[in-house]
Symmetry: C2
Subunit: 124 residues, 2 copies
């Protein structure tokens, strides 16, 4: 059975994709795919997302060079979330951090800290 038959896309035809760095286990980001961007991802071996704000395909790193080479694609029990393991070139986050999750809460959510160093300047 094709794994596409196991997937449930939402009312907008989208499925969330968690992106994890294979070598370190660091969760880098979450973005959205539709069926076509998932097919492109498998075809080219690099992550291709669907931008909800720009309503277009988005090959991660196309302009910045910060591509993600796909190593594994897993899907969850309900078929409504993807987990994609990659090797990341440079920074996954447009703010210049390796991971988009560069802030953690403290003091019961009243404060938060930046938990990693910026690798490169933020994208314009």
């Amino acid at each position: 059975m094709s794994f596409y038959e196991k997937l449930k896309f939402n009312a907008d035809g989208l499925i969330p994709a968690i992106v994890q760095e294979q070598s370190t286990g660091r969760v880098l980001m979450m973005a959205w795919m539709n069926k076509e961007s998932l097919q492109k991802t498998i075809e080219v071996g690099k992550t291709v997302f669907w931008s909800r704000s720009r309503q277009k395909y988005w090959l991660k790193g196309e302009t910045s060079g910060h591509i993600q080479v796909v190593k594994d694609i897993a899907f969850d029990c309900d078929g409504d979330t993807l987990l994609i393991k990659v090797e990341q070139t440079g920074a996954a986050c447009h703010e210049g951090y390796k991971s988009c999750f560069f802030r953690s809460i403290r003091d019961a959510g009243n404060q938060f800290d930046t938990t990693e160093e910026r690798l490169v300047p933020p994208e314009k």
Copy 2:
């Protein structure tokens, strides 16, 4: 500044929460929270989600005992996704696997494999 002001909940008042096992880096599951379930999570130190299908709060492990003790709560650059690091008791997945992502694709998506052992019988 409170981190709640940095968060963007969707049109249904929900935000996706990626749950990762702190000690192993294994991504266990993704589920949804609203502001109240996030506040409860912080308050009790265990994950509390909002069930979209049942339209109710859901303390993970309340019936199974497979709770998730919260170690860290991070949020992404856009403020629209949470990454929660936990220590997991037993299986995160209702199908009895440690992680809900127990299947990975092969053969360009035409096939998939089960990639981990079942820990406990599936929940009814």
